[in-house]
């Protein structure tokens, strides 16, 4: 043990971060070579940079079917989520509500402000009934945040139905969605027609890490969380990252254009992966929420499985030694695997959850990845089960 013997990498962790698309890296290189000026300046070089930034804004807005003025560029999903939740609370006061299965970038700001959470159902989704129940017992809800596609399980929330529930049961509240996992897998423009605030990020769709945006519906006021020079219409101070925005926009554009074909391609691969694991490992493997051919209630690229009598942390180590990069629940800052709050919110027993494995596909995934995974994963699982589970 010790040295990483697999020269080949089978990357099955696209939901954590996906490789930068060539279109994005070419756009970044070109923009960073061209635009050296601060886009807030008045001279020609600044105006050129400003134009590149606004072109990027147009592209990102177009991809989501929203006006460019709604786009606030951020450093990524966590900043966008914080700006949405804390920005609304700062501006309007009131109570924040989110699902118990949100990403920590939503959960932490909501809980920090003393907000309320809504349980998930067994499929990892928020039901309108569960949401209504929480909203009905609260006064003065100002923002409701519901994840579009869950980062661990891939479960897709029915945002139009949930937004309608908010309008009925908390008419004054704004609706936010953390959609950082969604752009590749669902028609986000359609899903968020009645959503006021939408967070997306570059590195889940082939853009650079450190890029992202919050869409803010016209008329919604937010307290900026970074104060300074008034950039992004006073909603996010700091010199805009022109090359980052350009690369992000290129990645968003390509992702949205190719989405229908990619959902079909990667969905079939995901189904083959789960079916193959079940064939070789039998009922040791349970697909947590994914069902074959269903790419609307669970993201096509996410195979979240639970393995009986295996500790995910030990399995991930063995897979890593063989070149398979995957993950279990969300990793904490030390790099250890933390117990999943998402699975807990679904009512899954903590011990069962310790055997969870998330295999996630993305734009660069190939059939050869699935072939290799189907050879390596069953071997590692069988080994661990023969050695006490790890």
């Amino acid at each position: 043990m010790g040295s990483d013997r697999g020269a080949l990498e089978i990357y099955l962790d696209h939901a954590a971060s996906t490789p930068v698309r060539p279109e994005a890296s070419e756009a970044w290189l070109a923009a960073s070579a061209t635009h050296h000026a601060n886009p807030t300046g008045a001279h020609k070089a600044a105006r050129d940079a400003r134009r590149a930034l606004d072109d990027a804004r147009d592209l990102v807005a177009d991809a989501l079917g929203r006006p460019p003025a709604e786009v606030v560029f951020t450093s990524g999903g966590s900043e966008a989520d914080n700006l949405a939740i804390r920005g609304v609370l700062g501006s309007r006061g009131g109570i924040a509500v989110c699902s118990a299965g949100e990403h920590h970038a939503v959960l932490e700001p909501v809980e920090h402000a003393g907000g309320a959470t809504v349980r998930l159902d067994a499929g990892g989704q928020v039901t309108p009934a569960a949401l209504a129940e929480v909203l009905d017992r609260l006064d003065d809800v100002s923002v409701v945040s519901l994840i579009a596609v869950n980062n661990e399980t891939g479960a897709v929330n029915d945002l139009p139905a949930l937004a309608a529930t908010v309008r009925e049961h908390a008419p004054g509240a704004l609706v936010h969605t953390d959609a950082v996992q969604a752009v590749s897998w669902i028609d986000l423009a359609a899903a968020t027609e009645d959503v006021d605030l939408v967070s997306i990020t570059g590195h889940k769709l082939g853009g650079p890490i450190g890029t992202g945006a919050l869409f803010v519906r016209a008329g919604v006021t937010l307290d900026a969380q970074i104060l300074g020079g008034g950039q992004e219409r006073g909603r996010r101070a700091g010199t805009p990252d022109v090359a980052g925005a350009v690369a992000f926009a290129a990645a968003v554009t390509v992702t949205v254009e190719r989405r229908p074909a990619e959902v079909a391609r990667l969905g079939a691969m995901r189904d083959r992966l789960i079916a193959g694991l079940q064939e070789s490992l039998g009922d040791v493997v349970t697909a947590t929420v994914a069902r074959p051919d269903d790419y609307t209630t669970v993201a096509a690229g996410v195979a979240h499985i639970m393995l009986a009598d295996v500790e995910a942390e030990a399995l991930l180590f063995l897979l890593d030694q063989e070149g398979v990069r995957a993950s279990a629940a969300s990793s904490c800052s030390s790099g250890a695997q933390d117990p999943s709050h998402v699975l807990a919110a679904m009512g899954i027993d903590r011990e069962v959850a310790e055997g969870s494995l998330r295999l996630s596909l993305g734009w660069s995934s190939t059939d050869a990845d699935i072939d290799a995974a189907l050879e390596i994963i069953p071997r590692a699982v069988t080994h661990l089960r023969a050695h006490g589970g790890g």
Binding site: M1, P339, H383, G388
Partner: protein
């Protein structure tokens, strides 16, 4: 697999094994999610371990055994205090985490041997592998490792056994390891200096006021939390001054009563044990017995579930480990009871 806590000792242990041509993987256990300022589990310690591994060019992994730690170390620690005992959580962590849970993980992952940076030695004898004291008497950690059986000792590598702490720091500095001058961690890792043991326990169990009585049962003082009192303690007992020093000689949590006495009342001729394990064959005759991590070993015999002291001994707080040695070899150990 070398266990890397993020301290200088395990950093150097990893470096020595790597220099010896071993195929080394560094592992840090994440055990405690709460606040910590001295222990093994703070993110900054994980960072140190990872950066030392990076510097050495070895792989580094973090395993989360937080649930096991809570169940096997923190929970019993609190229960022991509630019962008026004085636990040693580092020994329980060695027993349940480092040399059981992590060892089982190492087995499952195919590691033949496990190394740590403890100051102790594995000595091969005709009776199989034995745990021996480290060369640096002031840093010897054989006491806290006495729970290791011969199966574990047979797979354990302790590269620092023959080195002094000064040697270790000098080598770390030579190798330009960032932990070379890092201060020692000596306190319980899950209790912070800022909040202390009383706050930690008080958050988990009700702390009860205790009466302090003398040998005749006359009330002479009081303590705010009987769960915090230990045998031999002479301060924070609410006693009036002007007398000879008085020491805690008994703690009875059932009646919330602390009994104090003179120094002579602390001396016992035997110490009851609630468990005792010999490593290998039992020893009939006199052995040297050590009752704290860096205490002086004193002669006695282990018979019929108790220690019979050769020349009398200061009373040992229930929950403390008693470890038997001959020369520098650990023969066995157990836990004192009341």
């Amino acid at each position: 697999m070398v266990m890397m806590s993020g301290g200088v000792d395990s950093s150097v242990a990893a470096a020595l094994l790597q220099q010896a041509g071993r195929d080394v993987v560094g592992v840090t256990m994440k055990l405690w999610g709460g606040p910590s300022d001295t222990g093994c589990c703070a993110v900054s310690d994980v960072d140190d371990a990872r950066r030392v591994a990076d510097r050495l060019g070895i792989e580094h992994h973090v395993f989360n055994f937080g649930d096991d730690f809570e169940r096997d170390v923190v929970g019993p620690y609190v229960e022991d205090h509630a019962a008026g005992r004085t636990p040693n959580p580092c020994i329980e962590c060695n027993r349940h985490l480092k040399f059981d849970r992590l060892l089982r993980r190492a087995d499952a992952l195919g590691f033949a041997t496990v190394a740590t940076g403890h100051h102790a030695r594995v000595v091969v004898t005709a009776d199989g592998p034995r745990l021996g004291r480290g060369a640096d008497a002031a840093k010897d950690q054989s006491y806290v490792l006495h729970v290791l059986d011969q199966d574990v000792l047979g797979r354990l590598v302790l590269p620092l056994g023959a080195m002094t702490k000064a040697d270790v720091r000098a080598l770390a500095a030579d190798l330009d390891l960032r932990t070379a001058h890092k201060p020692e961690s000596q306190d319980v890792c899950f209790i912070t200096n800022e909040h202390g043991r009383e706050t930690f326990l008080g958050d988990r169990i009700p702390l009860r006021r205790g009466r302090v009585v003398d040998q005749e049962g006359v009330e002479v003082g009081s303590v705010p939390a009987i769960e915090m009192v230990t045998i031999g303690q002479r301060k924070r007992l609410g006693l009036a001054g002007g007398t000879d020093p008085r020491y805690v000689v008994d703690v009875d949590t059932a009646t919330s009563t602390v009994t104090v006495g003179e120094k002579a009342d602390l001396t016992v001729d035997h110490t009851p044990l609630e468990s005792w394990t010999w490593i290998g064959r039992p020893v009939d005759g006199e052995v040297m017995l050590q009752c704290s991590a860096h205490g002086v070993a004193e002669p006695g015999r282990v018979v019929d579930g108790r220690v019979e002291w050769t020349t009398g001994h200061r009373k040992i707080a229930p929950g403390q480990s008693v470890v038997a040695y001959v020369d520098d070899l650990v023969l066995g150990g157990g836990t004192a009871t009341s």
